[in-house]
Symmetry: C2
Subunit: 416 residues, 2 copies
């Protein structure tokens, strides 16, 4: 089946570049992008066109770090220090995922809110609950959100959501058995982070990741207190990342959220192993963790993507996460001189990088299923002169909200 979309096409085919096709066409066959064209090719002249008129057609967003069971506490407890925030809000909120009906309502709302804000690919933490995690995957799939979901494992210092070590692994196996029939989402091994996991658990999960060929996600070097605690807990490892490495969790495509305090050696270890850093700018500020050295990570050859980090982050919409990344980078520039992220660069990290992680293209790449968002910017302030597409794009990323989004294509299908 041929589908043709018409509108103003904007994408980031490589880091730091923006390509625009005013009044252009996207030609899809069965949801797969076959061509981008400034004119409608003659052989498609008789095909019906979905006309977005003066709208902006951009690759959709990819959110590579967020916690589904924390969605109910979005924007709350932000004045609390990290440890109080965890005990007063986080663990108690996650514990509610023991109730499958509650979990379904939250997951349905989250999945829908992801689509309506233009996010079509995710790497997501669930809670420790097997049933809730399968429900989350069902709801994402129903809404058309694609990517990875992990049942979280945590068998120490985790308050009301702490698991028994043996049971944590057993439940993970039971969860993996339940994942067979999903098409858009698949499982990712998810030790919460070193302070919440015993060596036994880490070893078990590492074995599972290897035996089943599963990817891994966790947290790394987020805050000073955490890094210090990890050093105390693991006198056997000189550096934080070595613990993940020791247990087989540090490998190609492992996602590590935050990396705020990663030193050059840790950054090099990421580049060498093909581990990805997921930058969570809003959360790093909200929880007073710091500003991550994104430019340094990139310069060392580390793959970087962005995460909303719901609910340490307070905004689910990835266009706001992109803006927060630019702002954090400007503050870091003032601090360290490291040049800030430009809009095309930050957009690449919040869109292209995540699509690449999942095997998609950077920007609108032919041969890939379409992941796109269509934005109507007519509500935005009347400009002083005619704007070029790069200007309209920048303005849209800064200002748009869900009411400006006209269509969201995930795997070639409009899911809005």
């Amino acid at each position: 089946m041929t589908t043709i979309l018409h509108g103003n096409i904007i994408h980031a085919p490589s880091f730091g570049t923006l390509e625009t096709i005013p009044d252009g066409y996207l030609i899809l066959e069965d949801g797969v992008l076959r061509a981008l064209s400034p004119v409608l090719p003659a052989q498609y002249a008789s095909c019906p066109v979905t006309d977005y008129g003066d709208g902006l057609i951009l690759p959709s967003f990819a959110d590579l770090h967020l916690h589904a069971p924390q969605y109910p506490m979005l924007g709350m407890g932000m004045d609390l220090p990290l440890m109080e925030w965890l005990s007063a809000y986080t663990f108690r909120t996650e514990a509610r995922f023991a109730d499958p009906e509650y979990a379904r309502r939250i997951c349905r709302q989250l999945a829908r809110d992801l689509i309506t804000s233009g996010t079509t690919r995710v790497a997501m933490f669930s809670s420790c609950h097997t049933a809730a995690t399968l429900i989350l995957m069902e709801e994402l799939e129903k809404a058309g959100v694609t990517g990875y979901v992990g049942k979280v494992n945590m068998d120490r210092s985790s308050g009301p959501v702490q698991e028994d070590t043996v049971r944590s692994v057993a439940e993970t196996l039971r969860w993996l058995d339940g994942c067979q029939d999903f098409h858009l989402v698949s499982p990712i091994i998810t030790p919460r982070f070193v302070p919440s996991c015993t060596n036994e658990l880490l070893a078990g999960l590492g074995t599972l990741a290897r035996e089943r060929g599963l990817p891994v996600q966790s947290h790394l070097s987020e805050s000073a207190g955490e890094v210090e605690l990890v050093a105390q807990l693991h006198p056997d490892c000189a550096r934080y990342w070595e613990i993940y490495n020791k247990y087989g969790l540090w490998k190609e495509r492992t996602l590590m959220a935050h990396c705020v305090l990663s030193d050059p050696r840790e950054q090099e270890a990421m580049a060498e192993a093909g581990v990805w850093a997921v930058h969570c700018a809003a959360s790093n500020v909200n929880l007073c963790s710091g500003t991550a050295g994104v430019r340094a990570l990139l310069n060392r050859g580390v793959h970087v993507a962005l995460g909303s980090d719901i609910a340490g982050g307070d905004q689910l919409a990835m266009n706001r996460v992109i803006v927060d990344s630019i702002r954090a980078s400007k503050l870091r520039q003032m601090e360290t001189g490291e040049p800030f992220l430009t809009m095309p660069e930050a957009y690449y990290l919040g869109s292209s990088a995540g699509h690449i992680y999942f095997g998609g293209g950077a920007g609108f790449q032919t041969g890939c299923k379409l992941h796109a968002v269509v934005v109507n910017d007519a509500r935005l302030p009347e400009p002083a002169r005619e704007l070029n597409l790069a200007e309209r794009f920048e303005r849209a990323v800064y200002l748009m909200d869900r009411t400006d989004i006209r269509a969201v294509y995930s795997e070639g299908v409009n899911r809005l």
Copy 2:
């Protein structure tokens, strides 16, 4: 005429405190708040009640620094250094206010967008154009926005919007003559900032402010380059603020935007004179100016309010400006140890402080005309447990957008 509003009442009667009245009543006579009450007083039992049900009723926002003619460039050019941003966007955009029809469209949209985002009091820069400034005042008044508006004066280094000194003063007089019939908005003397104004112009404006008893607004110590330039231009004054003082512009209720680089002596001079600092967190990050020492200003007894600083800032909605102020303060805490602004504190600065500046009360003060916003938070994620009003308030300030606002009272009248 008696008006009674019912809902969940939340306000910040003093810096750092939050008072909540669940399921309470606001009693108004001719728009003036007469009582706040947890129950409907018996004598009003027969009066009709405007019932906002489970909605949140909060004092509205006050935006004490923004540039109306820059609204068309909102969210654009943010990757440019300050001087390029000024020449590529700012001056050229402001120059368009020479066209009254264009100015009217922009001002109408801005005034409407202020109301729909809950801002009812402003201190605003217009452009240098007399006609456009009067149009701006008309449109604000029609929409129900109250406060101060200034025709901008600038007779040096101001590109296409530079004025002749004599004409700048003459036009200011002509503008003041045209301001007689406004009820909600009144004029404020507005030298753009020292680098844009000759001594002659500053002297003329100082005289005018004194003779007519008019307030003053300008910019102070925003960025390093600017502070350096001012020092070069004024070897006669040891410090930036002394120039405003020399020409009669540094006085009780003068509004000074930014104050990022104000040193302790400048901060003391503000406190002594009763000059207000307007903190513009988003703009200070976007333009790489720095993070202002808000806590230090407050500790020295300086009055501080918040400004969106459209279009150095990218968000008109003051709830986002409040969040940006909290974030900037967290980054500053990490840098300097200065404790961050809590939500009740930042909300006080973005609401109560501005209302006080204009003679209103801190929070819902009886005897004052009502300035309030009513928020419906039902769209926000389902919480994990019943929330108290302080939690719902924090979440609303972080997450709400214009679609969540049900009513906006300005001077006692719902203008939405």
